[in-house]
């Protein structure tokens, strides 16, 4: 059996003080694999991504998450990020007044410091940034704008993939990155994600629709329903779900 990057075991979680959303979710992601997590609205997809990123306001009531064999849940939000966990937001946050270029350089240098690499100077950074921008077909002028401020929906998602390309995370979690994208943007984002595949890198693609999976081929597809993985299949499962919907898999569970 291949080495596991992420092992989620019997995870129960809720919004603090609220009803349980994840109800015994288990999932294993081997190093170097891309898995898709699909499921209807309300199945717990976004909660899973927030719990993995460490967002405040979410409570894990039982279960465990091991990342490279370590307890992910014991790490702070930013420790997880520096250790190589990246969450591509469903709704990237606008931050007026924080210049995108400055922000990107700061996050790249934070990651590099964690890896024991020297800081990039502005010239070296610009070279990297321009390569990443080109990959997602964003104009270099966006470096001068405030983070996500006034970006179109497509630009925001491209900016997420661009950050992913810069940071080279070990584990990428894409939370509905395909939602709200037109066909061109979807292709660019899909190609960006596909390009990030590598033997040492893994990704969880969380999505409601299989559209993104036309551009990125996952090793496995998990179907999430009512807070648990109810079915796991090969890449072909995505197409089947598109044709048949979720009902045949989740039956009377919802």
């Amino acid at each position: 059996m291949s080495e596991m990057l992420l092992e989620i075991k019997d995870l129960h979680a809720r919004v603090a003080g609220g009803a349980e959303i994840l109800k015994g979710l288990s999932l294993s992601l081997p190093v170097g694999e891309v898995h898709a997590i699909m499921g209807p609205n309300g199945s717990g997809k976004s909660t899973l991504s927030y719990v993995l990123a460490g967002r405040e306001g979410y409570e894990v009531t039982s279960g465990s998450v091991l990342y490279r064999g370590e307890d992910l849940l014991a790490m702070s939000i930013d420790e997880r990020a520096r250790a190589g966990v990246f969450l591509a937001f469903q709704y990237p946050v606008e931050i007026p007044g924080v210049q995108n270029g400055y922000f990107l350089r700061a996050i790249l240098n934070a990651r590099r410091a964690h890896l024991g690499l020297p800081e990039l100077n502005p010239v070296e950074f610009m070279k990297r940034a321009k390569e990443a921008l080109q990959m997602v077909k964003l104009d270099a002028s966006m470096l001068k704008r405030s983070v996500n401020e006034g970006f179109s929906g497509g630009e925001k998602k491209r900016n997420e993939v661009m950050q992913m390309a810069l940071l080279e995370p070990t584990l990428s979690v894409l939370d509905e990155t395909d939602s709200g994208l037109d066909i061109d943007a979807l292709r660019v984002v899909g190609q960006g994600v596909e390009a990030l595949k590598g033997p040492a890198r893994s990704a969880l693609i969380i999505t409601h629709f299989p559209r993104l999976l036309e551009h990125v081929t996952p090793h496995k597809v998990h179907v999430l329903s009512a807070g648990r993985v109810v079915h796991t299949g090969e890449a072909s499962l995505a197409r089947e779900l598109e044709e048949r919907g979720y009902e045949w898999l989740i039956g009377g569970e919802r």
Partner: protein
């Protein structure tokens, strides 16, 4: 009425002053009356800032040391006692002395003491001005001849003597200084003026729980007046970064004739209590004032900005944008009064005062006041009090930045539009230090 007749209103304030700077006895008595009973005590304008209670009742008058750079066509003279080592002789702060120095600079005659320039009226009613008129220790006079361009940068430093090491030792007397700067620009002249207020932090300057308790009271009081004749242009930066032990009182008056323009940036960052009044008179048709400020509080500081902007002539434009960032248990007060005179048609005035509260104990008070006697105006104002955006903080942290770095980025972004106006490295440095203090959590001080 002569000042001496008012003396019975209150006992004279004893002054343990160095001989050459001691004001005449009659003036001291009038000062005592002013401080104890009048201006600083009970006016509504000082509701949130107890200047009268905070002022030391007894102090040694000191001259702050002044580092001054003048470039271009700006001509500078002084009256009274400022930086004596650098300026060996100057007339005293009297009407005759001031007039003589204006004449020596080649400037036209100006109103004497009480309003060093025509801009004094913009500060009408200020208790600080009334006090300073009675006994300023020294003043700088700046003149830029018509059509010419000049630059003046001044750093005022008043160091607090170290507190006695042994608790039993007698306390060192409080120190203080009342200084002024009056600048005048002839028609079409351009002036860049920077004033910074600094001083070394004593050991007691660290923002521990004790705050300034152990420190000696000291104050700096400074009035800046700028008179802009027709078509003149001013770029002004005022950065207040006095040590925590200080009380800082400031007043800035700017009077603009027709077609004149002023761009002023005020940073209120230091001292334990700092009150800065800004009075701007748009007195000539088509004058413009672009005013911005940042007050950044930490510890138990109280930072008060008190603006009065008067549209007195037609078709003038004004903008005020003052941002408060408050940490610790600091308090920020913004009062912004915009007055539009009956004849000031075509007025455009904008005002905003967003505040960011960076800790649970901090507070902001915002008091916009519009007083409009004219229908042909476009005025807007907005005041907000908010906290650091947790959503944005989560985003920054999810990219690997620590909470502290994320908070700093967001705080810098908040005051960024004010700070990016600064061209003075010293002022930028004071702002960066104040930001770090405001964001330092009590458990882990920035120092």
């Amino acid at each position: 009425m002569s000042p001496s007749r008012r003396a019975p209103l209150a006992p004279p304030r004893p002054l343990t002053a160095a001989a050459p700077l001691l004001p005449p006895p009659a003036l001291a008595a009038a000062e005592g009356a002013l401080l104890a009973s009048g201006g600083f005590g009970k006016t509504e304008a000082l509701w949130y800032t107890p200047v009268g209670e905070a002022l030391p009742r007894e102090f040694v008058r000191l001259s702050p040391s002044v580092a001054l750079e003048a470039r271009g066509a700006a001509r500078v003279a002084r009256v009274g006692a400022l930086s004596p080592e650098r300026w060996p002789a100057s007339p005293p702060v009297t009407a005759a002395g001031v007039s003589a120095q204006w004449a020596a600079l080649g400037a036209p005659a100006a109103p004497p003491l009480g309003a060093l320039t025509g801009a004094g009226a913009a500060l009408g009613g200020s208790a600080l001005c009334a006090w300073s008129d009675l006994s300023a220790d020294g003043a700088l006079l700046v003149w830029v001849p018509p059509g010419e361009e000049g630059e003046v940068r001044v750093v005022y430093t008043l160091d607090v003597p170290a507190a006695p090491a042994a608790p039993a030792a007698p306390a060192a007397p409080a120190t203080g200084a009342l200084t002024r700067l009056a600048a005048r620009c002839g028609e079409g002249a351009r002036l860049t003026l920077v004033e910074r207020f600094e001083g070394a932090e004593g050991a007691e300057g660290a923002e521990g729980a004790e705050g300034a308790e152990g420190a000696e009271a000291a104050f700096t009081a400074h009035i800046t007046e700028v008179e802009l004749q027709a078509g003149a242009d001013l770029t002004y930066t005022r950065a207040q970064g006095a040590p925590l032990a200080h009380l800082h009182l400031g007043a800035v008056g700017i009077a603009l004739a027709a077609g004149a323009g002023a761009r002023a940036t005020l940073l209120n960052l230091g001292a334990r209590l700092a009150r800065v009044e800004l009075g701007v008179d748009l007195a000539g048709e088509g004058a413009r004032a672009d005013l911005a400020g940042a007050f950044v509080g930490s510890g138990a500081r109280l930072l008060d900005q008190h603006l009065t902007l008067r549209h007195l002539a037609p078709r003038c434009e004004s903008a005020q944008r003052f941002k408060g960032l408050l940490g610790g248990i600091s308090r920020g007060v913004f009062t912004g009064r915009v007055y539009v005179a009956p004849g000031a048609s075509g007025t455009r005035a904008e005002q905003s005062n967003p505040n960011l509260i960076a800790s649970e104990g901090a507070r902001a008070v915002s008091r916009p006041q519009l007083e409009i006697y004219n229908d042909d105006v476009q005025c807007s104002h907005g005041a907000t009090v908010g906290q650091l955006d947790e959503e944005a903080l989560f985003y920054l942290r999810s990219r690997g930045l620590t909470r502290a770095v994320g908070e700093r980025l967001l705080a810098e972004a908040f005051v960024g539009e004010v700070l990016e106006r600064l061209d003075d490295p010293g002022a930028q440095q004071l702002a960066a230090e104040a930001l770090a203090r405001a964001l330092a959590s009590p458990e882990e001080p920035a120092q």
